[in-house]
Symmetry: C2
């Protein structure tokens, strides 16, 4: 009896250890991931892919971490405005700053794209790249999410972290391909996702070299958008930064559709996945009608092509990386 | 006697095997490289650098391979014009194409920047990225250098290949940071340098996503320059693609000056190197007065700051990768 208990215990432990995705419920979703990775990594399999070509691309907002109630980079920009307000008394009476300081979302929306560009100009430009990285690191360490009241980097999806680790253990190189600003993501992604700066693809602003003084050159961020890594920009960003087509891609919104199409369009085995936010209780529930993270055309495309769609509510045992 | 001979033999073999840079003559140049790598990789050394931060950036033209009599990408463009000419009878009478077909360098020069843009438009645009890669691979396999009469990829510098290998064996991630077109370089650099596409930074043209037919999306190259990765563009390109500052950089011309300054401007141990073309017999001899690969300000900066300058004639035992 005792012996058989110990045996069962060990068996169950061995089983637990061999499960690379313990936060995923046993379901066709989990099976589709493991089947794909097994197919492309088993020597002698007709679908085996050489290690250098095992490129995996992940959207960030809504795919690796939460994106509600606003993209976290927008929260960062608003917090910067609040922190900088004492040095800018004129903001008390000037839009769109006044709207942010008074949490007047209607006035903010009314300021439109021009208002957004002004916000980006004061929060994301006029400083060196090093100064901006410091500001991001400081915010990541101190800011808290309004609903969950904890650091934003606690709102990373644990099942997706396990997936990143599982892919890397199988020879994949994991990339982030996000509409977010590349310089907003790089300062913390290596620590949080294990993804180094050179594997982060994102939107960017113009940066200018300045020879500086005493052999201390600077790169200064300009208030001008250079590249938007979203929608049709994602395959362009992948081509520009990575230079080869992923065989594995994961997104969560229509902004990821073209990346998924580009991945699907290559030859050989491919995996296309979508995180469907179906869990209002543990996270959020949204898709076709949402302004942030709208999932409509990509959901239809997934159904038509048989891509994997994660049902957050039923497929994920745990949602967030920190309890 | 016999025993001691065997012993000496083994000793010499062990020594030969332990020399990571056998094509470099024993000189202060070689010593400066090995000393630096030893300093930043020896555990417990005050200068040790964590593996993820061991970023090395190399210019390509004139640093890793030959750049005379013209940049090899220009030779590629001219060869493309010649190959496409039968489909373009109008080129017989239109500049700058006529000039290329008749090897009329004076007329070509007279066509100026506008002529160059026209050449780039017909040879580097109006096709998919995949078609362009195929054209580059085909050219690399078949074209021959006018003076040395062998494939362009035989004109890689053997000492620099050894250096790339040596750095990687010591935990460095090696990047190319070149003024050349990123899509011209990526198709062959992995095979020739061991540098994968995602570690190649270069100039680029605008690329557009096209959803295509039957689930086969395309990326189509447009006749518009997007980014010039040269001079002050190099630190910008490094920031954009790599996202961290190199601790090791190698160039050969004034177009590399800002990359070397940016590398030098960081904290901790750094290595800045310049290939000085001093060998008219085995390769070419040029510096301050050369139009291609002009080395003037960067040579002065190197002297002032104590950067390593390779004297090709005396520092390199062998120049090219293939005899």
């Amino acid at each position: 009896m005792l012996v058989s208990n110990i045996f069962l215990c060990q068996l169950s432990e061995a089983f637990a250890q061999s499960d690379p995705l313990p936060s995923w419920n046993e379901s066709p979703t989990k099976k589709s991931i493991i089947d794909f990775v097994t197919r492309v990594t088993t020597e002698g399999s007709p679908d085996v892919v050489p290690v250098p070509e095992r490129i995996a691309a992940f959207d960030n907002d809504g795919t690796l971490w939460c994106e509600k109630p606003v993209y976290f980079q927008v929260a960062f920009a608003f917090d910067r405005i609040k922190a900088m307000a004492p040095q800018h008394p004129e903001w008390k009476t000037t839009q769109p700053f006044k709207a942010i300081l008074h949490k007047d979302m209607q006035a903010l929306a009314a300021s439109g794209e021009n208002g957004l560009l002004q916000i980006m100009a004061v929060t994301h430009a006029g400083m060196t790249t090093d100064e901006f990285s410091d500001a991001v690191r400081d915010w990541i360490a101190n800011a808290r999410h309004p609903r969950f009241n904890r650091p934003y980097t606690d709102l990373i999806y644990k099942p997706m972290l396990e997936l990143l680790t599982y892919l890397r253990a199988n020879g994949f190189k994991t990339f982030v391909v996000s509409g977010g600003g590349v310089e907003f993501m790089r300062p913390w992604m290596e620590r949080v996702y294990g993804i180094p700066p050179e594997q982060v693809v994102g939107s960017s602003g113009v940066v200018k070299f300045n020879a500086g003084l005493n052999g201390k050159p600077k790169l200064v961020k300009q208030p001008k958008i250079e590249f938007v890594d979203d929608g049709p920009g994602k395959p362009v960003g992948i081509n520009r930064f990575i230079g080869r087509r992923p065989i594995f891609a994961f997104g969560n919104s229509d902004g990821d559709l073209q990346m998924l199409q580009w991945t699907a369009g290559g030859t050989g085995a491919r995996f296309m996945g979508i995180v469907h936010h179906t869990d209002a209780e543990r996270e959020y529930e949204y898709d076709r009608l949402s302004k942030i993270g709208k999932l409509d055309k990509a959901l239809d495309a997934a159904a038509a092509a048989g891509w994997t769609v994660v049902d957050m509510k039923t497929d994920w045992k745990t949602v967030f990386s920190s309890p």
